[in-house]
């Protein structure tokens, strides 16, 4: 009975994490599309939500292998997973409040590692896996995305430079929507599955389902996770959308298309090669790189630096928070009292944050560039063609 209560709480908190993952990462796919006015904000997040939902059903292999190679799956208990989720949710909400696009995946990994460390010691953590599967790709992927986007966008502007800029830019509208949609779909296939994997791990640890070779993610887990991430995406993390779409660099349509197309390429090629990446880091690197590549664009390196600083803090901060949460839970013993108390505290903190957010919320229209290329406020297009 106690085990069932803890698992029920893990499922509830995991779906809460999935929801925060959705609204935290809406910016990955749609920030540039919204900034240029290629799509109205609410329509953009609706499309992203639908594609995240669909993406969650495309493949389940990530869900089946989540947490493998990071910690010793044999010692993980539902309470450890619960502590890890608390760390991940806390870091996601903190970075969202400050408008920082940080990795939800790294927050989840950091949380699980932190809770496992205090529960079972350093031996239960697979350092090789963390270095090879998480840290190295985390450093390399945004750099590659940035360099490729910078060169690619520079060449694109060279090719279209004979035409009036605004006229050429408008031709990129639907290409931008398509590339953003690809990122949204890829996000659904990756991130929703991580939560499915976490819930499945808890169910296996509790003996509710069988693990091993014939392991299948229960259908209700797939549907719940797909719905939670889609709902979170639809809610729209406007603070982060504003940062990524308007504060790092002024995004023009060829840039928006270039950064999202390169990001989608990085994610898909890397996933195919077996490197699990952070969509957030790849997109942030590509957006910054596209700003370097566009002639005349000015990258706000102070904002870019704050984002990178957030990335370095994500793993240790989520790990420390999860470790603290686990220790607090343990103060109440082995039963369900600790997780129940922690869930009540989390719900109360979430309510306070929601109240504070209502007073200083970023509205959807504030995420559009001051000089959008599309929509009612779009820059006029000169009719003449340059020689």
């Amino acid at each position: 009975m106690t085990g069932d209560i803890i698992v029920a709480l893990v499922v509830a908190v995991a779906l809460t994490f999935d929801f925060t993952n959705g609204f935290h990462d809406t910016a990955n796919a749609m920030a540039t599309t919204i900034a240029t006015g290629a799509l109205p904000p609410k329509l953009a997040v609706t499309i992203a939500a639908i594609l995240n939902f669909v993406g969650a059903f495309i493949s389940l292999k990530v869900a089946a292998t989540v947490a493998g190679g990071i910690v010793d799956a044999n010692v993980v208990t539902p309470t450890v997973i619960y502590g890890g989720l608390i760390g991940a949710i806390t870091w996601n909400l903190a970075t969202w409040w400050f408008g920082l696009p940080s990795s939800s995946s790294h927050a989840l990994i950091g949380g699980v590692v932190g809770a496992t460390f205090v529960a079972d010691g350093a031996d239960a953590i697979q350092g090789d896996g963390i270095l090879g599967k998480v840290l190295v790709p985390a450093v390399v992927s945004p750099i590659i995305a940035g360099v490729v986007a910078a060169i690619g966008v520079f060449v694109m502007y060279k090719i279209i430079s004979r035409f009036v800029e605004e006229r050429a830019e408008r031709e990129f509208r639907w290409a931008q929507v398509a590339s953003s949609s690809m990122v949204a779909l890829a996000h659904g296939t990756n991130d929703a599955q991580k939560t499915m994997g976490v819930i499945s791990l808890a169910l296996i640890a509790n003996g509710s389902i069988k693990g091993g070779a014939g392991f299948d993610v229960p259908t209700w887990v797939v549907v719940c996770c797909a719905s939670a991430i889609a709902l979170g995406t639809y809610t729209g993390g406007w603070r982060i959308i504003k940062t990524l779409g308007t504060k790092v660099v002024e995004v023009r349509p060829p840039q928006g298309f270039g950064s999202e197309a390169v990001a989608a390429t990085v994610i898909l090629v890397s996933s195919n090669a077996g490197y699990p990446l952070s969509t957030t880091q790849v997109v942030s690197g590509a957006v910054t790189g596209s700003g370097v590549g566009r002639p005349g664009a000015v990258v706000n390196w102070a904002v870019a630096g704050r984002i990178v600083a957030g990335w370095f803090l994500t793993l240790p901060a989520a790990a420390a928070t999860a470790a603290l949460a686990y220790l607090i839970i343990r103060l109440f013993g082995d039963g369900a009292v600790g997780p129940i108390v922690m869930t009540v505290v989390l719900a109360f903190a979430g309510f306070l944050l929601w109240q504070a957010n209502r007073r200083s919320d970023v509205k959807p229209h504030e995420t559009i560039s001051e000089t959008p290329s599309f929509g009612p406020a779009a820059r006029p297009v000169a009719a003449a063609v340059t020689a």
């Binding site: 495309i58 493949s59 090879g132 490729v148 060169i151 890829a186 195919n272 090669a273």
Partner: protein
Amino acid sequence: MITAADIVDWAALGNAAWEIALFGLVILVVAAIAVATSLRAQDVRKTAGGAVATAYGAVTVVCVAGLAAAVVLGIHLMTQK
């Protein structure tokens, strides 16, 4: 003593980076060519006549078809994960 070289497969990482650079740049260049030829077709249609405009239009169609193929390949890769 275990070093980073023992844990990280740098050859595979380098190969992935090379593929990303190749595919990423090709996609962006093809898109730019599609836009440039589309605009050129619109302009030429007003002045030089149909044949030249059709030729530019054909290049646009080929480029767009290539980009559509890239999208299909991307979705296929997602289903293989």
